[in-house]
Amino acid sequence: MTAIGWTRDEMAERAARDIPDGSYVNLGIGIPELVASHVPEGRQLIYHTENGLLGMESLPEGAEGEPELINAGKKRVAAMRGAAYFHHADSFAMIRGGHLDLCVLGALQVSEKGDLANWSTGAPDAIPAVGGAMDLVAGVKRIVVITQHTTRDGEPKLVTECTYPLTAPGVVDRIYTDLAVIDVSDEGFKTVELAPGVDHAYVAERTGTHLINGIGP
């Protein structure tokens, strides 16, 4: 994690702030999961997990949970009052049919055209595994990414062209990094907001392609 910029929880909080009341949301594994803990007071989101539950909740503190009530990451979860269970075809009908409002995902790379790579590094010895990622990005109305701005080695994750295999082309709408909130606009990456203590040049330096200053000096 960079010394300056937003923490993981702050990134999740920033993303949560943008989600309208009443949205149906699917959260990916990792930082995206934290979004649920940061929804502003007075808003209710309904969480979908692709393995067949609408109205997912975190396990209450200290609860052990049940092996047959899990989320897509295979962690034990709970169900809210007013939840619904369904089978996989119905679950992906929700996804593919455009019924979910928002999907929050992690990323390996995002291109300035909104291409997303988040399922495979393409390493020849890796066992490929895709899960529901390609369905989610192809079907959900709005796709946002939460990710560190660069890899641990300092390589940019926001790039001109993804070098990793794509999850889908042209699907990402917005990116929340530790340094900035960035839209994928028709002209390319454009800043919407900068983390405290970070200026445009600092973010642009760590971005693998042109970054439009959408905020002004």
Partner: protein, 236 residues
């Protein structure tokens, strides 16, 4: 906090515009959302494309909507039923178009539309006049026709029980096309015999999850088409 309830059928259908495609649940009278249809007649939208298995009976509900000449095109599998005189008359007079679709193909097209599937192949209708002009394709030595998914601007359905999130339970064979149409409607409007509080429906038994539903209006003791027809009611 999420509460999809609206106060009346009139409010529920207020924004359906002229020219809209409207899916209406029901198989014959079972599951027909009479009160929503009557509200749509009152509302006045014209030039509608309506998707329903049939064309209504008597002069109430769907038949009344057709009689009021609000429907320019029907997509259905069986436009002839007992007490169905309105549609045959207007169809004969060239005042309404008919797109005849086999019942299972109609159901699957609606499900596909709601599930983001733009098209699929089916063996149904191969070798018949209903397959003429359609794309054919051989799979494993059998011939199939290509059919497109079907979506609607609005869906009107009836159910037995709803909750404020829009989770729905149906009543027996009144279920029929309604869960599919709920998926395929851009805006899905439900009249429910009863609305219970969140948690009042067992999550294991939900037939239509609330994500497919936009508006719920409680219509306790809904009218039954066969009663109205027997009593000779003509709406409005």
């Amino acid at each position: 906090m999420i509460d999809k309830r609206v106060a009346s059928p009139a409010e529920a259908v207020a924004d359906i515009p002229d020219g809209a495609t409207v899916m209406i649940g029901g198989f014959g009278e079972a599951g027909s959302p009479i009160e929503l249809i009557h509200a749509l007649i009152d509302q006045g939208a014209r030039n509608l494309t309506v998707v329903n298995n049939n064309t209504g009976s008597g002069e109430v509900g769907l038949a009344a909507l057709i009689k009021a000449e609000r429907v320019s095109r029907m997509i259905c599998s069986y436009p002839r039923t007992a007490n169905s005189t309105v549609f045959p008359e207007l169809y004969g007079a060239g005042k309404v178009e008919l797109d005849l679709v086999p019942q299972g193909t109609l159901a699957e097209r609606i499900r596909a539309g709601g599930a983001g599937i733009p098209g699929f192949y089916t063996p149904t209708s191969v070798g018949t006049p209903l397959a003429e002009g359609k794309e054919h394709r051989d799979f494993d030595g059998r011939e199939y026709v290509f059919e497109r998914g079907l979506v609607a601007d609005f869906t009107l359905i009836k159910c037995r029980t709803a909750d404020p999130y829009g989770n729905l339970l149906f009543n027996k064979t009144a279920r029929n096309f309604s869960p599919l149409m709920a998926m395929a409607g851009e805006v899905t409007i439900v009249q429910a015999d009863e609305v219970v509080t969140a948690g009042g429906i067992d999550p294991e038994c939900v037939v239509t999850p609330g994500i497919f539903v936009d508006r719920v209006v409680e219509v306790a003791n809904p009218q039954q088409e066969s009663d109205l027809v027997r009593r000779g009611v003509s709406y409005p």
